[in-house]
Amino acid sequence: MELTLKEVQHVAVLARLRLTPEEEKQFTEQLGRILQYMEKLGQLDTSQVEPFDHAATSANAFRDDIVSNTPNPAAILANAPAKEQTFFRVPKIIE
C-alpha cells in the first residue's frame, strides 16, 4: 500500500508533530516501505486463526476496590512546568 503525503500530514497533526516539507516527504517514503513490508502478512490464509489482540496469554489481572494510596499532591505537582495552588496550570484552553 502506498502511503500518501496527505496521510502523513494527517497523522502528524493527530500526533501534534510539526514536520518540515522535507521530513513529510522522507517519512512518507519510510513509513510506506514499512507498511508494504507488513502487507506480506496479508498473503497468509488466516481464516482459521483467532484474531490476535493481546500478547499476554493470561487474563483477569484485577485489584480489589480498596483505597491504598496516600495522597501526596506536592510530589505529584513537583515536576509540573507551571502550577497554581495545587492545580496544574496550562495555557488557556479554548473550546
Binding site: R16, R63, V67, P71, N72, E84, I94, E95
Partner: protein
C-alpha cells in the same frame, strides 16, 4: 411536511466504587485539587494500571439489569486524543469488545410500554476537570476525577420526542440507583448525558443527518435542548437549507444550541487494545453470582405494587422511583396493611419533611425522620377511630425524630378521639345555647350553618371529638329543636 425526531442517548454513569478504576486513589468528591492523584492516574511514564474488579462487577450488574449479552472475553482499548484534562494523551476505554451489548430498557409512556434498545455498555476512565475562567491566559487542571470509573451506556436511536428521552433517562437512572452502582446526581456530574438527534419526515425509515448535543446537565436541559434542536433542524430544512453532522453545545442561559468549533479530525481516535491491561474473561459462575444478587428492579416492583397492593399507577410509580422509599412503604404495609392510606402519608407528609431536610437528595436514606413502624401504627390508630385525621397530622409532626410510638404520644398529649356520646352531647348543648341566632338561621333554611356549628363543637373539644358522632348527634338535636 410533518417531521419526527429520532433521538439516541449516550449516558456516562460514574460508578460508586471506593477507589479509581486503575489505581488505589480515592474517588471521593470535593477534595482539594489533585489530592486524589497518583503516578498512575496522572499518567507518569512507566506505571502500570490494574483494573478494579468492582468496576467489572458493576458493569455486569448494569448489563444484566438491562438485558444485555455479557461479553465473555472483553478488552480495554486506548482512545487517543490530546486535551489538557487527559494526562496520558489517551483514555482507557473499550472499543470492539465492550463488556455488555444488545440490551434494552422498557420505558412506560402513560401506561403503555416502549422498548428502547441499548447498543452497548462499556467501562472507561473519567478525565480530569479544567477551570477556564478567571485565571488570565491560563487554565487550571484538577485530576481528582481522572481515573474515576464510568460506564458509558449507549442507546439505539429509538426515542421519537424529547419527552420520551426524558422518561428513558429517568428509568435508566432509577435502574442504576436500584443496583447501587451510581448515585445518579446530575448536578455533581455523576450521571451525564450526550444526545444524538436527527429529524425525518414522519412515516419514513431513513435516518437524517445527526447532530450531537453536549453540556446537558439536568433533565430539564436535556428536554429543552432536544426541543430547541428539533425546531432548529425543521426550520433549516423548511427554508431549503442543509443540515451538517456536527457537535453542538447547549447554552443554558440563552436556551439554544450553538456549533462547537470543530476540532479537526476529532473522530480519528486510533483505538487499539491497551497492551498494559489483560483481557477480561468472564465465566458463567461469575455472571450467575451477580444475577442472583440483583435486587427487584423498578419496573417489576411497580407492576407488583399495582397488583399486590392495588395502588393507583401514580402511587406505584412514585413509590418505586426509589428503592429506599419502596422499602419504607413495604415495611409499613407489612405491619399494617392499609396500603393506600400509607401511600398517601408517604407522598404527602413524609415527602414534605424529606424535602425540607433535603433528604430527598440522598441516594439512599438510612435514617428516616419518621420510622416506618410508627407510620403504620399511626394509620392504624386512625382506622380504629382512636384519633381523628386532623389530630393524626399533629401526631405525625410529633413523630419526627421521636423515639416514642404514636400510641404513646397520643396518650401523653391526651389526643385520643372522644366518641363518648355524653361528652359530645354536653359540648353540643353548650354550643347550641351560645348561638341562638345561627340556629334560627339554620331553621330558616341556611344549611351552611351546620358546618359552622360542627366547627364550633370540634373547637370546643380541641379537635378530639369523633366528627362522625358530632355530625349525628348535632343533626338529631337540631331536628328535635325544630319539631318542638
Amino acid at each position: 411536511m410533518k417531521y419526527e425526531s429520532v433521538i439516541g442517548l449516550e449516558v456516562h454513569a460514574q460508578l460508586l466504587t471506593q477507589s479509581k478504576i486503575f489505581c488505589g486513589c480515592s474517588t471521593q468528591f470535593g477534595q482539594a485539587p489533585n489530592y486524589n492523584t497518583c503516578a498512575v492516574c496522572i499518567g507518569f511514564p512507566g506505571v502500570l494500571p490494574v483494573l478494579n474488579k468492582k468496576v467489572v462487577e458493576f458493569a455486569i450488574r448494569a448489563g444484566l439489569a438491562t438485558h444485555c449479552e455479557i461479553t465473555r472475553s472483553s478488552r480495554l482499548a486506548r482512545k487517543n486524543y490530546f486535551y489538557p484534562d487527559l494526562p496520558k494523551g489517551y483514555q482507557i476505554s473499550q472499543y470492539e469488545l465492550p463488556i455488555c451489548a444488545n440490551g434494552y430498557v422498557d420505558i412506560d409512556l402513560d401506561g403503555t410500554s416502549k422498548r428502547v434498545r441499548l447498543t452497548r455498555i462499556h467501562m472507561e476512565e473519567d478525565a480530569g476537570k479544567n477551570i477556564h475562567d478567571g485565571h488570565g491566559d491560563s487554565s487550571l487542571v484538577d485530576f481528582n476525577r481522572a481515573g474515576v470509573p464510568l460506564l458509558e451506556i449507549v442507546s439505539e436511536p429509538d426515542m421519537r420526542n424529547p419527552a420520551e428521552a426524558g422518561i428513558y433517562l429517568r428509568t435508566l437512572r432509577a435502574i442504576l440507583q436500584y443496583l447501587d452502582i451510581c448515585d445518579g446526581n446530575m448536578e455533581q456530574g455523576s450521571f451525564r448525558c450526550d444526545a444524538n438527534i436527527s429529524i425525518r419526515p414522519q412515516g419514513t425509515d431513513a435516518l437524517g443527518t445527526k447532530v450531537e448535543i453536549k453540556n446537558l446537565n439536568s433533565f430539564k436541559a436535556i428536554e429543552k435542548a432536544l426541543e430547541y434542536e428539533t425546531a432548529r433542524q425543521m426550520d433549516t430544512l423548511s427554508e431549503g437549507g442543509k443540515l451538517i453532522q456536527e457537535t453542538r453545545l447547549w447554552d443554558e442561559n440563552k436556551e439554544q444550541t450553538r456549533a462547537m468549533r470543530s476540532k479537526e479530525s476529532a473522530h480519528d481516535y486510533r483505538y487499539f487494545p491497551d497492551p498494559d491491561l489483560l483481557p477480561v474473561v468472564i465465566d458463567e459462575k461469575w455472571i450467575d453470582e451477580i444475577h442472583t444478587s440483583l435486587p427487584e428492579l423498578p419496573g417489576t416492583r411497580r407492576s407488583r405494587f399495582l397488583s399486590q397492593y392495588a395502588l393507583p399507577l401514580y402511587d406505584a410509580e412514585l413509590l418505586t422511583s426509589r428503592r429506599d422509599i419502596a422499602d419504607y412503604f413495604e415495611t409499613a404495609v407489612t405491619i399494617y396493611p392499609n396500603a393506600k392510606a400509607i401511600s398517601n402519608w408517604i407522598m404527602g407528609e413524609l415527602f414534605r419533611i424529606l424535602k425540607e431536610r433535603k433528604l430527598d437528595q440522598q441516594l439512599y436514606i438510612k435514617t428516616w425522620p419518621v420510622r416506618a413502624e410508627y407510620l403504620a401504627e399511626l394509620v392504624q390508630l386512625i382506622d380504629q377511630d382512636k384519633i381523628s385525621g386532623k389530630i393524626a397530622k399533629m401526631v405525625f409532626d410529633a413523630l419526627v425524630d421521636a423515639e416514642r410510638s404514636p400510641q404513646t404520644i397520643v396518650k401523653e398529649k391526651g389526643l385520643e378521639q372522644v366518641s363518648d356520646v355524653a361528652r359530645i352531647e354536653t359540648s353540643i348543648d353548650q354550643i347550641l345555647a351560645a348561638y341562638p341566632k345561627q340556629i334560627a338561621d339554620y331553621r330558616g333554611g341556611n344549611e351552611k350553618i351546620f358546618g359552622f356549628l360542627v366547627g364550633q363543637v370540634m373547637k370546643s373539644m380541641q379537635g378530639k371529638a369523633n366528627p362522625q358522632k358530632v355530625n349525628e348527634i348535632l343533626k338529631a338535636k337540631l331536628s328535635c329543636t325544630i319539631s318542638t
